[in-house]
Protein backbone atom coordinates (compact mmCIF):
# COMPACT_ATOMS: atom_id res chain seq x y z
CA UNK A 1 0.00 0.00 0.00
CA UNK A 2 2.70 2.43 1.04
CA UNK A 3 4.83 1.34 -1.90
CA UNK A 4 1.92 2.08 -4.19
CA UNK A 5 1.58 5.57 -2.78
CA UNK A 6 5.26 6.26 -3.17
CA UNK A 7 5.15 4.96 -6.71
CA UNK A 8 2.12 7.06 -7.56
CA UNK A 9 3.80 10.09 -6.05
CA UNK A 10 6.95 9.56 -8.05
CA UNK A 11 5.01 8.97 -11.23
CA UNK A 12 2.97 12.10 -10.66
CA UNK A 13 6.04 14.20 -10.07
CA UNK A 14 7.80 12.81 -13.12
CA UNK A 15 4.79 13.50 -15.30
CA UNK A 16 4.54 17.01 -13.93
CA UNK A 17 8.15 17.76 -14.73
CA UNK A 18 7.78 16.20 -18.17
CA UNK A 19 4.67 18.28 -18.79
CA UNK A 20 6.49 21.43 -17.72
CA UNK A 21 9.09 20.74 -20.37
CA UNK A 22 6.86 19.32 -23.08
CA UNK A 23 3.88 21.69 -23.01
CA UNK A 24 5.81 24.69 -24.36
CA UNK A 25 7.12 22.50 -27.14
CA UNK A 26 3.62 21.32 -28.02
CA UNK A 27 2.25 24.85 -27.89
CA UNK A 28 4.99 26.06 -30.15
CA UNK A 29 4.38 23.25 -32.60
CA UNK A 30 0.64 23.80 -32.58
CA UNK A 31 1.24 27.47 -33.30
CA UNK A 32 3.13 26.45 -36.39
CA UNK A 33 0.08 24.76 -37.89
CA UNK A 34 -2.56 27.23 -36.76
CA UNK A 35 -4.00 29.66 -39.28
CA UNK A 36 -4.00 32.50 -36.79
CA UNK A 37 -2.39 31.93 -33.44
CA UNK A 38 -4.10 34.88 -31.77
CA UNK A 39 -7.49 33.56 -32.64
CA UNK A 40 -6.44 30.10 -31.54
CA UNK A 41 -6.72 26.68 -33.11
CA UNK A 42 -10.39 27.40 -34.00
CA UNK A 43 -9.08 29.52 -36.83
CA UNK A 44 -8.12 26.31 -38.55
CA UNK A 45 -5.17 24.02 -39.17
CA UNK A 46 -2.83 24.69 -42.05
CA UNK A 47 0.50 23.66 -43.48
CA UNK A 48 0.96 26.95 -45.27
CA UNK A 49 3.45 28.25 -42.71
CA UNK A 50 5.47 25.10 -42.89
CA UNK A 51 5.50 25.32 -46.66
CA UNK A 52 6.49 28.97 -46.46
CA UNK A 53 9.36 28.22 -44.11
CA UNK A 54 10.52 25.39 -46.32
CA UNK A 55 10.44 27.67 -49.31
CA UNK A 56 12.30 30.45 -47.56
CA UNK A 57 14.81 28.49 -45.55
CA UNK A 58 15.55 25.21 -47.29
CA UNK A 59 19.00 26.51 -48.10
CA UNK A 60 19.73 27.02 -44.40
CA UNK A 61 18.34 23.61 -43.55
CA UNK A 62 20.46 21.90 -46.18
CA UNK A 63 23.55 23.78 -45.12
CA UNK A 64 22.95 22.85 -41.49
CA UNK A 65 22.96 19.18 -42.33
CA UNK A 66 25.96 19.56 -44.58
CA UNK A 67 27.86 21.25 -41.78
CA UNK A 68 26.67 18.76 -39.16
CA UNK A 69 27.82 15.75 -41.14
CA UNK A 70 31.03 17.41 -42.23
CA UNK A 71 31.71 18.21 -38.57
CA UNK A 72 30.98 14.60 -37.70
CA UNK A 73 33.36 13.42 -40.39
CA UNK A 74 36.15 15.68 -39.18
CA UNK A 75 35.67 14.82 -35.50
CA UNK A 76 35.66 11.12 -36.37
CA UNK A 77 38.72 11.22 -38.56
CA UNK A 78 40.67 13.43 -36.19
CA UNK A 79 39.06 12.73 -32.83
CA UNK A 80 39.10 8.94 -32.69
CA UNK A 81 42.78 8.52 -33.55
CA UNK A 82 43.57 11.45 -31.26
CA UNK A 83 41.73 9.80 -28.39
CA UNK A 84 43.60 6.55 -29.11
CA UNK A 85 46.93 8.32 -29.21
CA UNK A 86 46.28 10.26 -26.03
CA UNK A 87 45.11 7.17 -24.20
CA UNK A 88 47.89 4.85 -25.25
CA UNK A 89 50.67 7.37 -24.85
CA UNK A 90 49.52 8.70 -21.49
CA UNK A 91 51.78 10.89 -19.43
CA UNK A 92 51.76 14.58 -18.75
CA UNK A 93 51.93 15.78 -22.35
CA UNK A 94 48.81 13.80 -23.21
CA UNK A 95 47.03 15.29 -20.20
CA UNK A 96 47.92 18.79 -21.35
CA UNK A 97 46.74 18.12 -24.90
CA UNK A 98 43.50 16.67 -23.58
CA UNK A 99 42.94 19.80 -21.53
CA UNK A 100 43.56 21.98 -24.55
CA UNK A 101 41.07 20.02 -26.62
CA UNK A 102 38.55 20.33 -23.81
CA UNK A 103 39.05 24.07 -23.39
CA UNK A 104 36.29 25.12 -25.85
CA UNK A 105 33.78 23.60 -23.42
CA UNK A 106 34.61 26.24 -20.89
CA UNK A 107 34.97 29.20 -23.26
CA UNK A 108 31.80 30.94 -24.45
CA UNK A 109 31.05 30.26 -28.11
CA UNK A 110 31.13 33.97 -28.78
CA UNK A 111 34.72 34.18 -27.62
CA UNK A 112 35.76 31.26 -29.80
CA UNK A 113 34.04 32.88 -32.74
CA UNK A 114 35.74 36.17 -32.08
CA UNK A 115 39.11 34.48 -31.91
CA UNK A 116 38.46 32.71 -35.20
CA UNK A 117 37.35 35.95 -36.81
CA UNK A 118 40.41 37.80 -35.58
CA UNK A 119 42.72 35.12 -36.83
CA UNK A 120 41.17 34.01 -40.11
CA UNK A 121 38.68 36.78 -40.86
CA UNK A 122 41.16 38.27 -43.31
CA UNK A 123 41.11 35.26 -45.62
CA UNK A 124 38.18 36.42 -47.70
CA UNK A 125 37.35 33.22 -49.57
CA UNK A 126 37.56 31.13 -46.45
CA UNK A 127 35.64 33.66 -44.38
CA UNK A 128 32.80 33.67 -46.92
CA UNK A 129 32.46 29.91 -47.21
CA UNK A 130 30.65 27.44 -45.01
CA UNK A 131 34.02 25.89 -44.19
CA UNK A 132 34.54 28.76 -41.78
CA UNK A 133 31.52 27.63 -39.77
CA UNK A 134 32.70 24.05 -40.07
CA UNK A 135 35.93 25.01 -38.35
CA UNK A 136 34.00 26.66 -35.52
CA UNK A 137 31.76 23.64 -35.08
CA UNK A 138 34.70 21.27 -35.13
CA UNK A 139 36.49 23.20 -32.41
CA UNK A 140 33.31 23.28 -30.38
CA UNK A 141 32.32 19.60 -30.76
CA UNK A 142 35.74 17.93 -30.77
CA UNK A 143 35.95 17.61 -26.97
CA UNK A 144 32.69 15.69 -26.90
CA UNK A 145 33.96 13.14 -29.39
CA UNK A 146 37.39 12.79 -27.81
CA UNK A 147 36.00 12.56 -24.29
CA UNK A 148 33.36 9.98 -25.02
CA UNK A 149 35.80 7.81 -26.97
CA UNK A 150 38.41 8.09 -24.24
CA UNK A 151 35.83 7.12 -21.63
CA UNK A 152 35.27 3.82 -23.46
CA UNK A 153 39.00 3.29 -23.86
CA UNK A 154 39.42 3.59 -20.13
CA UNK A 155 36.59 1.16 -19.41
CA UNK A 156 37.64 -1.66 -21.75
CA UNK A 157 41.38 -1.49 -21.05
CA UNK A 158 42.09 -0.74 -24.68
CA UNK A 159 45.81 -0.49 -24.05
CA UNK A 160 46.12 -4.15 -23.12
CA UNK A 161 43.87 -5.17 -26.01
CA UNK A 162 46.14 -3.17 -28.28
CA UNK A 163 49.21 -4.86 -26.84
CA UNK A 164 47.50 -8.23 -27.24
CA UNK A 165 46.89 -7.57 -30.91
CA UNK A 166 50.44 -6.30 -31.31
CA UNK A 167 51.84 -9.46 -29.75
CA UNK A 168 49.94 -11.43 -32.40
CA UNK A 169 51.70 -9.54 -35.15
CA UNK A 170 49.23 -6.80 -36.03
CA UNK A 171 50.64 -3.49 -37.22
CA UNK A 172 49.41 -0.27 -35.58
CA UNK A 173 46.96 0.47 -38.40
CA UNK A 174 45.57 -3.07 -38.44
CA UNK A 175 45.15 -2.94 -34.68
CA UNK A 176 43.34 0.34 -34.97
CA UNK A 177 40.86 -1.11 -37.46
CA UNK A 178 40.40 -4.59 -35.96
CA UNK A 179 40.52 -3.94 -32.27
CA UNK A 180 40.42 -0.29 -31.30
CA UNK A 181 37.53 0.98 -33.40
CA UNK A 182 35.20 -2.03 -32.91
CA UNK A 183 35.68 -1.93 -29.17
CA UNK A 184 35.30 1.82 -28.98
CA UNK A 185 32.10 1.73 -31.00
CA UNK A 186 29.70 2.59 -28.16
CA UNK A 187 31.79 5.66 -27.37
CA UNK A 188 32.11 6.59 -31.03
CA UNK A 189 28.34 6.37 -31.49
CA UNK A 190 27.65 8.34 -28.34
CA UNK A 191 30.17 10.94 -29.47
CA UNK A 192 28.65 11.09 -32.95
CA UNK A 193 25.23 11.62 -31.46
CA UNK A 194 26.52 14.55 -29.44
CA UNK A 195 28.41 16.05 -32.34
CA UNK A 196 25.46 15.95 -34.75
CA UNK A 197 23.03 17.32 -32.20
CA UNK A 198 25.34 20.04 -31.02
CA UNK A 199 26.26 21.06 -34.53
CA UNK A 200 22.64 21.21 -35.69
CA UNK A 201 21.60 23.25 -32.68
CA UNK A 202 24.67 25.45 -32.29
CA UNK A 203 23.78 29.14 -32.27
CA UNK A 204 26.25 31.37 -30.39
CA UNK A 205 29.30 30.64 -32.42
CA UNK A 206 27.48 30.22 -35.71
CA UNK A 207 25.67 33.49 -35.33
CA UNK A 208 28.99 35.28 -35.07
CA UNK A 209 30.58 33.38 -37.93
CA UNK A 210 27.74 33.35 -40.45
CA UNK A 211 27.42 35.53 -43.51
CA UNK A 212 24.13 36.22 -45.29
CA UNK A 213 24.99 33.32 -47.56
CA UNK A 214 26.11 30.89 -44.89
CA UNK A 215 23.24 30.62 -42.42
CA UNK A 216 22.34 27.48 -40.49
CA UNK A 217 19.02 26.29 -39.08
CA UNK A 218 19.25 27.99 -35.69
CA UNK A 219 20.50 31.23 -37.20
CA UNK A 220 17.58 31.15 -39.62
CA UNK A 221 15.34 30.43 -36.68
CA UNK A 222 16.51 33.54 -34.87
CA UNK A 223 16.03 35.41 -38.10
CA UNK A 224 12.47 34.25 -38.47
CA UNK A 225 11.67 34.94 -34.82
CA UNK A 226 12.89 38.46 -35.28
CA UNK A 227 11.31 39.28 -38.59
CA UNK A 228 8.39 36.96 -39.36
CA UNK A 229 5.02 36.40 -37.81
CA UNK A 230 4.82 34.03 -34.90
CA UNK A 231 3.19 31.24 -36.88
CA UNK A 232 6.11 31.17 -39.31
CA UNK A 233 8.65 31.08 -36.53
CA UNK A 234 6.74 28.23 -34.89
CA UNK A 235 6.52 26.34 -38.15
CA UNK A 236 10.26 26.69 -38.32
CA UNK A 237 10.55 25.14 -34.87
CA UNK A 238 8.36 22.31 -36.08
CA UNK A 239 10.64 21.64 -39.03
CA UNK A 240 13.67 21.73 -36.78
CA UNK A 241 12.02 19.12 -34.60
CA UNK A 242 11.07 16.87 -37.45
CA UNK A 243 14.64 16.96 -38.65
CA UNK A 244 16.40 16.33 -35.40
CA UNK A 245 14.18 13.92 -33.47
CA UNK A 246 14.42 10.91 -35.82
CA UNK A 247 18.15 11.46 -35.94
CA UNK A 248 18.37 11.43 -32.16
CA UNK A 249 16.23 8.33 -31.89
CA UNK A 250 18.21 6.48 -34.54
CA UNK A 251 21.52 7.21 -32.91
CA UNK A 252 20.22 6.40 -29.46
CA UNK A 253 19.15 3.02 -30.81
CA UNK A 254 22.60 2.50 -32.25
CA UNK A 255 24.18 3.41 -28.94
CA UNK A 256 21.94 0.94 -27.09
CA UNK A 257 22.84 -1.80 -29.50
CA UNK A 258 26.54 -1.00 -29.15
CA UNK A 259 26.29 -1.20 -25.39
CA UNK A 260 24.55 -4.57 -25.44
CA UNK A 261 27.36 -6.20 -27.41
Amino acid sequence: MRDRLIFAGQLGFTLLVAAFLVVPVLLSISAGITVNYFRGIQSGVTLQWVAQVWGLYKGEIGLSFLIAFATLAVTLVVGVPAAYGLHVRGGRLSRVIEEIITLPLAIPGLAIALALLLTYGGFGGFRQSWLFILVGHTVFTMPFMVRSVMAVFASVDIKTLDEGAASLGASPWTRFCNVIVPNALPGILAGSLMVITLSLGEFNLTWMLHTPLTKTLPVGLADSYASMRLEVASAYTLIFFIMIVPLLVAMQMFADKGEKQ
Binding site: E163, G164, S167, L168, G169, S171, N178
Partner: protein, 353 residues
Protein backbone atom coordinates in the same frame (compact mmCIF):
# COMPACT_ATOMS: atom_id res chain seq x y z
CA UNK B 1 58.49 -19.14 -46.19
CA UNK B 2 55.62 -20.71 -44.35
CA UNK B 3 54.38 -18.08 -41.95
CA UNK B 4 53.40 -20.40 -39.16
CA UNK B 5 56.54 -22.39 -38.81
CA UNK B 6 58.45 -21.31 -35.78
CA UNK B 7 60.69 -22.76 -33.15
CA UNK B 8 61.66 -22.03 -29.61
CA UNK B 9 64.41 -19.45 -29.64
CA UNK B 10 67.10 -18.92 -27.07
CA UNK B 11 66.77 -15.52 -25.47
CA UNK B 12 69.73 -13.47 -24.33
CA UNK B 13 69.15 -10.51 -22.12
CA UNK B 14 72.24 -8.35 -21.96
CA UNK B 15 72.56 -5.51 -19.45
CA UNK B 16 68.89 -4.64 -19.60
CA UNK B 17 67.78 -2.11 -17.05
CA UNK B 18 64.69 0.03 -17.03
CA UNK B 19 64.17 3.47 -15.61
CA UNK B 20 60.73 4.92 -16.25
CA UNK B 21 60.34 8.54 -17.30
CA UNK B 22 59.15 9.42 -13.80
CA UNK B 23 62.50 8.28 -12.43
CA UNK B 24 61.42 4.89 -11.04
CA UNK B 25 64.19 2.37 -11.56
CA UNK B 26 62.10 -0.74 -12.06
CA UNK B 27 65.03 -2.87 -13.12
CA UNK B 28 68.74 -2.56 -12.47
CA UNK B 29 70.81 -3.61 -15.50
CA UNK B 30 70.71 -7.40 -15.55
CA UNK B 31 71.84 -10.16 -17.88
CA UNK B 32 70.15 -13.49 -18.32
CA UNK B 33 70.39 -16.32 -20.83
CA UNK B 34 67.34 -18.42 -21.51
CA UNK B 35 67.95 -21.75 -23.17
CA UNK B 36 65.85 -22.65 -26.20
CA UNK B 37 62.90 -24.76 -25.17
CA UNK B 38 63.12 -24.24 -21.43
CA UNK B 39 60.49 -22.77 -19.14
CA UNK B 40 62.01 -20.00 -17.12
CA UNK B 41 60.04 -18.56 -14.24
CA UNK B 42 60.49 -15.02 -12.99
CA UNK B 43 59.51 -15.15 -9.34
CA UNK B 44 59.38 -12.34 -6.83
CA UNK B 45 57.18 -10.18 -4.66
CA UNK B 46 54.93 -7.49 -6.06
CA UNK B 47 56.75 -4.56 -7.63
CA UNK B 48 60.11 -6.33 -8.03
CA UNK B 49 60.20 -5.77 -11.78
CA UNK B 50 59.00 -9.10 -13.17
CA UNK B 51 56.47 -7.60 -15.53
CA UNK B 52 58.95 -4.97 -16.62
CA UNK B 53 61.48 -7.65 -17.53
CA UNK B 54 58.84 -9.61 -19.44
CA UNK B 55 57.69 -6.53 -21.31
CA UNK B 56 61.27 -5.73 -22.30
CA UNK B 57 61.63 -9.24 -23.74
CA UNK B 58 58.28 -8.88 -25.51
CA UNK B 59 59.18 -5.52 -27.00
CA UNK B 60 56.48 -3.60 -25.17
CA UNK B 61 59.11 -1.67 -23.25
CA UNK B 62 62.55 -0.57 -24.45
CA UNK B 63 65.48 -1.20 -22.13
CA UNK B 64 67.63 1.71 -20.97
CA UNK B 65 70.51 2.62 -23.25
CA UNK B 66 73.12 -0.15 -23.36
CA UNK B 67 70.64 -2.97 -22.87
CA UNK B 68 70.16 -5.52 -25.64
CA UNK B 69 67.81 -8.41 -26.31
CA UNK B 70 68.81 -11.27 -28.60
CA UNK B 71 66.56 -14.03 -29.92
CA UNK B 72 69.01 -16.73 -30.91
CA UNK B 73 71.66 -14.60 -32.61
CA UNK B 74 69.39 -11.85 -33.84
CA UNK B 75 69.43 -8.56 -32.02
CA UNK B 76 65.76 -7.65 -31.60
CA UNK B 77 66.21 -4.66 -29.31
CA UNK B 78 64.95 -2.21 -31.91
CA UNK B 79 62.27 -4.51 -33.35
CA UNK B 80 58.71 -3.77 -32.27
CA UNK B 81 56.64 -6.48 -30.63
CA UNK B 82 54.56 -7.19 -33.74
CA UNK B 83 57.66 -8.36 -35.56
CA UNK B 84 59.27 -10.31 -32.73
CA UNK B 85 57.06 -13.33 -33.21
CA UNK B 86 56.36 -13.85 -29.54
CA UNK B 87 53.21 -15.16 -27.94
CA UNK B 88 51.88 -13.37 -24.93
CA UNK B 89 49.36 -14.26 -22.25
CA UNK B 90 48.34 -11.27 -20.19
CA UNK B 91 47.13 -11.35 -16.63
CA UNK B 92 43.85 -9.83 -17.77
CA UNK B 93 43.98 -12.11 -20.87
CA UNK B 94 43.31 -9.18 -23.25
CA UNK B 95 40.91 -11.24 -25.33
CA UNK B 96 39.11 -9.24 -27.99
CA UNK B 97 35.49 -8.68 -26.90
CA UNK B 98 34.46 -7.98 -30.48
CA UNK B 99 35.45 -11.46 -31.69
CA UNK B 100 34.36 -15.01 -30.95
CA UNK B 101 36.60 -17.54 -29.29
CA UNK B 102 37.59 -19.02 -32.65
CA UNK B 103 38.26 -15.58 -34.12
CA UNK B 104 40.42 -14.72 -31.14
CA UNK B 105 42.47 -17.87 -31.53
CA UNK B 106 42.77 -17.37 -35.28
CA UNK B 107 43.58 -13.67 -35.14
CA UNK B 108 47.35 -14.02 -35.20
CA UNK B 109 47.12 -16.50 -38.08
CA UNK B 110 44.87 -14.19 -40.04
CA UNK B 111 47.33 -11.33 -39.55
CA UNK B 112 50.08 -13.57 -40.88
CA UNK B 113 48.02 -14.29 -43.98
CA UNK B 114 47.28 -17.94 -43.24
CA UNK B 115 44.50 -19.18 -45.52
CA UNK B 116 41.04 -19.93 -44.22
CA UNK B 117 41.29 -23.71 -44.35
CA UNK B 118 44.70 -23.87 -42.68
CA UNK B 119 43.49 -21.43 -40.10
CA UNK B 120 40.44 -23.50 -39.26
CA UNK B 121 42.62 -26.58 -38.90
CA UNK B 122 45.02 -24.83 -36.58
CA UNK B 123 42.16 -23.38 -34.52
CA UNK B 124 40.68 -26.85 -34.15
CA UNK B 125 44.05 -28.15 -33.06
CA UNK B 126 44.37 -25.40 -30.44
CA UNK B 127 40.82 -25.94 -29.22
CA UNK B 128 41.58 -29.62 -28.68
CA UNK B 129 44.90 -28.90 -27.04
CA UNK B 130 43.44 -26.48 -24.51
CA UNK B 131 40.22 -28.39 -23.92
CA UNK B 132 37.76 -25.77 -24.95
CA UNK B 133 35.73 -27.78 -27.47
CA UNK B 134 32.21 -26.44 -27.94
CA UNK B 135 33.06 -22.86 -27.06
CA UNK B 136 34.32 -21.81 -30.50
CA UNK B 137 31.42 -19.54 -31.34
CA UNK B 138 30.95 -17.99 -27.94
CA UNK B 139 31.68 -14.37 -27.29
CA UNK B 140 34.33 -13.61 -24.71
CA UNK B 141 31.89 -12.27 -22.13
CA UNK B 142 30.14 -15.63 -22.20
CA UNK B 143 33.19 -17.47 -20.82
CA UNK B 144 34.25 -18.30 -17.29
CA UNK B 145 37.61 -17.16 -15.97
CA UNK B 146 39.22 -20.54 -16.54
CA UNK B 147 37.88 -20.73 -20.08
CA UNK B 148 39.21 -17.28 -20.85
CA UNK B 149 42.60 -18.31 -19.59
CA UNK B 150 42.60 -21.28 -21.94
CA UNK B 151 41.52 -19.18 -24.89
CA UNK B 152 44.27 -16.68 -24.14
CA UNK B 153 46.80 -19.49 -24.10
CA UNK B 154 45.43 -21.04 -27.28
CA UNK B 155 45.57 -17.66 -29.02
CA UNK B 156 49.17 -17.07 -27.98
CA UNK B 157 50.34 -20.55 -28.95
CA UNK B 158 48.42 -20.76 -32.23
CA UNK B 159 51.01 -18.69 -34.09
CA UNK B 160 53.85 -21.00 -32.97
CA UNK B 161 55.74 -18.17 -31.32
CA UNK B 162 59.49 -18.28 -30.88
CA UNK B 163 59.06 -17.31 -27.25
CA UNK B 164 55.93 -17.63 -25.15
CA UNK B 165 55.56 -14.98 -22.47
CA UNK B 166 53.09 -15.39 -19.64
CA UNK B 167 52.41 -12.73 -17.03
CA UNK B 168 50.72 -14.24 -13.98
CA UNK B 169 48.23 -16.10 -16.16
CA UNK B 170 46.60 -17.90 -13.25
CA UNK B 171 46.43 -15.12 -10.67
CA UNK B 172 42.91 -14.06 -11.56
CA UNK B 173 41.49 -17.54 -10.89
CA UNK B 174 40.29 -19.12 -7.66
CA UNK B 175 42.60 -21.49 -5.81
CA UNK B 176 41.31 -24.91 -6.87
CA UNK B 177 41.00 -23.95 -10.51
CA UNK B 178 44.47 -22.47 -10.33
CA UNK B 179 45.91 -25.78 -9.15
CA UNK B 180 44.20 -27.70 -11.91
CA UNK B 181 45.18 -25.30 -14.65
CA UNK B 182 48.71 -25.19 -13.35
CA UNK B 183 49.32 -28.86 -13.99
CA UNK B 184 47.48 -28.63 -17.30
CA UNK B 185 49.71 -25.72 -18.29
CA UNK B 186 52.75 -27.65 -17.17
CA UNK B 187 51.90 -30.58 -19.42
CA UNK B 188 51.18 -28.26 -22.31
CA UNK B 189 54.45 -26.35 -22.03
CA UNK B 190 56.42 -29.61 -21.86
CA UNK B 191 54.65 -31.11 -24.85
CA UNK B 192 55.13 -27.99 -26.96
CA UNK B 193 58.80 -27.76 -26.15
CA UNK B 194 58.48 -24.03 -26.53
CA UNK B 195 60.72 -21.43 -24.91
CA UNK B 196 58.51 -20.00 -22.19
CA UNK B 197 59.02 -17.18 -19.74
CA UNK B 198 56.55 -17.26 -16.94
CA UNK B 199 56.00 -14.51 -14.41
CA UNK B 200 54.50 -15.27 -11.03
CA UNK B 201 54.68 -14.30 -7.39
CA UNK B 202 53.48 -17.77 -6.33
CA UNK B 203 56.39 -20.00 -5.39
CA UNK B 204 54.39 -23.23 -5.77
CA UNK B 205 53.61 -22.25 -9.34
CA UNK B 206 57.26 -21.43 -9.94
CA UNK B 207 58.40 -24.79 -8.56
CA UNK B 208 55.99 -26.84 -10.63
CA UNK B 209 56.42 -25.03 -13.92
CA UNK B 210 59.98 -23.85 -13.98
CA UNK B 211 62.96 -25.66 -15.43
CA UNK B 212 64.79 -22.80 -13.85
CA UNK B 213 63.64 -20.05 -11.55
CA UNK B 214 64.90 -16.50 -11.45
CA UNK B 215 64.15 -15.04 -8.05
CA UNK B 216 63.92 -11.28 -8.23
CA UNK B 217 64.02 -8.66 -5.55
CA UNK B 218 63.67 -4.90 -5.89
CA UNK B 219 64.58 -4.80 -9.57
CA UNK B 220 67.56 -7.14 -9.29
CA UNK B 221 68.15 -10.87 -9.71
CA UNK B 222 68.58 -12.52 -6.32
CA UNK B 223 69.24 -16.06 -7.59
CA UNK B 224 68.97 -18.18 -10.69
CA UNK B 225 68.66 -21.92 -10.41
CA UNK B 226 66.57 -25.04 -10.74
CA UNK B 227 63.62 -25.30 -8.35
CA UNK B 228 65.70 -27.69 -6.21
CA UNK B 229 68.68 -25.33 -6.14
CA UNK B 230 66.57 -22.41 -5.16
CA UNK B 231 64.75 -24.39 -2.50
CA UNK B 232 67.60 -26.29 -0.93
CA UNK B 233 70.51 -23.99 -1.69
CA UNK B 234 69.22 -20.46 -1.40
CA UNK B 235 72.05 -18.01 -1.84
CA UNK B 236 70.69 -15.47 0.55
CA UNK B 237 68.15 -14.93 3.25
CA UNK B 238 65.65 -13.27 0.91
CA UNK B 239 65.49 -16.30 -1.39
CA UNK B 240 65.38 -18.68 1.58
CA UNK B 241 62.39 -16.91 3.05
CA UNK B 242 60.57 -16.11 -0.18
CA UNK B 243 60.73 -19.60 -1.64
CA UNK B 244 58.98 -21.97 0.71
CA UNK B 245 58.90 -21.72 4.50
CA UNK B 246 62.25 -21.33 6.23
CA UNK B 247 63.60 -21.22 9.75
CA UNK B 248 66.39 -18.72 10.03
CA UNK B 249 68.71 -19.39 12.94
CA UNK B 250 71.69 -17.41 14.16
CA UNK B 251 74.69 -18.41 16.22
CA UNK B 252 78.45 -18.89 16.20
CA UNK B 253 80.10 -21.71 14.25
CA UNK B 254 83.06 -23.59 15.64
CA UNK B 255 84.46 -27.01 14.72
CA UNK B 256 81.67 -27.75 12.29
CA UNK B 257 78.97 -27.04 14.82
CA UNK B 258 76.43 -24.24 14.93
CA UNK B 259 75.72 -23.31 18.53
CA UNK B 260 72.16 -22.36 19.39
CA UNK B 261 70.43 -21.51 22.68
CA UNK B 262 69.00 -25.02 22.92
CA UNK B 263 72.11 -26.97 21.87
CA UNK B 264 73.97 -27.34 18.59
CA UNK B 265 73.61 -28.53 15.01
CA UNK B 266 76.20 -30.40 13.01
CA UNK B 267 77.17 -28.76 9.73
CA UNK B 268 78.65 -30.32 6.67
CA UNK B 269 81.76 -28.27 6.11
CA UNK B 270 81.47 -24.71 7.28
CA UNK B 271 84.14 -22.23 8.20
CA UNK B 272 84.27 -20.99 11.76
CA UNK B 273 82.42 -17.75 12.33
CA UNK B 274 81.59 -15.64 15.35
CA UNK B 275 78.09 -14.96 14.09
CA UNK B 276 76.51 -16.99 11.31
CA UNK B 277 73.04 -17.19 9.80
CA UNK B 278 71.64 -20.51 8.63
CA UNK B 279 68.40 -21.76 7.11
CA UNK B 280 66.55 -24.97 7.90
CA UNK B 281 63.39 -26.07 6.06
CA UNK B 282 60.54 -27.09 8.41
CA UNK B 283 60.18 -30.57 6.88
CA UNK B 284 63.85 -31.41 7.40
CA UNK B 285 63.61 -31.21 11.18
CA UNK B 286 62.76 -34.48 12.86
CA UNK B 287 61.12 -34.75 16.28
CA UNK B 288 62.99 -37.25 18.50
CA UNK B 289 63.23 -38.11 22.16
CA UNK B 290 64.90 -35.48 24.30
CA UNK B 291 67.58 -37.81 25.63
CA UNK B 292 70.62 -37.93 23.40
CA UNK B 293 69.47 -35.17 21.05
CA UNK B 294 71.97 -32.37 20.40
CA UNK B 295 69.25 -29.74 20.17
CA UNK B 296 66.20 -29.54 22.42
CA UNK B 297 63.17 -27.30 22.86
CA UNK B 298 59.62 -27.05 24.16
CA UNK B 299 56.53 -27.54 22.04
CA UNK B 300 54.58 -24.30 21.96
CA UNK B 301 51.79 -25.20 19.57
CA UNK B 302 50.63 -27.98 17.29
CA UNK B 303 48.33 -27.45 14.35
CA UNK B 304 46.96 -30.37 12.43
CA UNK B 305 46.94 -29.56 8.68
CA UNK B 306 45.84 -32.93 7.35
CA UNK B 307 48.76 -34.38 5.46
CA UNK B 308 51.11 -33.20 8.22
CA UNK B 309 51.14 -31.28 11.45
CA UNK B 310 52.90 -28.02 12.04
CA UNK B 311 54.73 -27.90 15.35
CA UNK B 312 56.23 -24.74 16.80
CA UNK B 313 59.14 -25.33 19.15
CA UNK B 314 60.61 -22.63 21.39
CA UNK B 315 63.87 -22.56 23.27
CA UNK B 316 65.90 -24.36 20.63
CA UNK B 317 66.85 -21.25 18.68
CA UNK B 318 66.47 -17.59 19.57
CA UNK B 319 63.26 -17.52 17.55
CA UNK B 320 60.59 -20.26 17.61
CA UNK B 321 61.28 -23.03 15.07
CA UNK B 322 58.60 -24.24 12.71
CA UNK B 323 58.60 -27.99 12.11
CA UNK B 324 56.50 -29.99 9.68
CA UNK B 325 56.09 -33.35 11.38
CA UNK B 326 54.34 -36.48 10.06
CA UNK B 327 50.65 -36.47 10.97
CA UNK B 328 50.86 -39.79 12.83
CA UNK B 329 53.15 -38.94 15.73
CA UNK B 330 51.80 -37.70 19.01
CA UNK B 331 53.15 -34.39 20.35
CA UNK B 332 51.67 -32.28 23.06
CA UNK B 333 51.96 -28.66 23.98
CA UNK B 334 54.51 -28.08 26.69
CA UNK B 335 56.35 -31.32 25.92
CA UNK B 336 60.17 -31.24 25.78
CA UNK B 337 61.41 -32.60 22.47
CA UNK B 338 64.70 -33.31 20.81
CA UNK B 339 65.30 -32.09 17.26
CA UNK B 340 67.33 -33.92 14.68
CA UNK B 341 68.49 -32.23 11.52
CA UNK B 342 70.72 -33.80 8.89
CA UNK B 343 73.86 -31.74 8.47
CA UNK B 344 73.16 -31.30 4.75
CA UNK B 345 69.79 -29.72 5.55
CA UNK B 346 71.37 -26.82 7.41
CA UNK B 347 72.26 -24.18 4.90
CA UNK B 348 74.64 -21.50 6.08
CA UNK B 349 73.80 -18.21 4.39
CA UNK B 350 76.27 -15.50 3.52
CA UNK B 351 76.27 -12.59 5.91
CA UNK B 352 74.27 -9.59 4.83
CA UNK B 353 73.94 -6.19 6.31
Amino acid sequence: MNAITGHGAAVHIIDCGKTFPDGTQALAPASLDIIAGETLVLLGPSGCGKTTMLRIIAGLETPDAGGRILFDDTDVTAIPIEQRHVGMVFQSYALFPNMTVAENIGYGLKIRGVGKADRAARIAEMVALTNIGGLENRRIDQLSGGQRQRVALARAVAVRPRVLLLDEPLTALDASLRDRLRSELNRLLRSLGITAIYVTHDQAEAMELGDRIVVMRKGAIAQIGTPRDVYFQPQNRFVAEFVGAANIVEGPIAQGRLSLPGGWLALSDAADAAAAVAMIRPETIGLVAEGGASLCGTVESVSFIGDRQRVIVTGAASKPLTIDAPNGINVEIGQRVGLSVASAAVRVLPKED
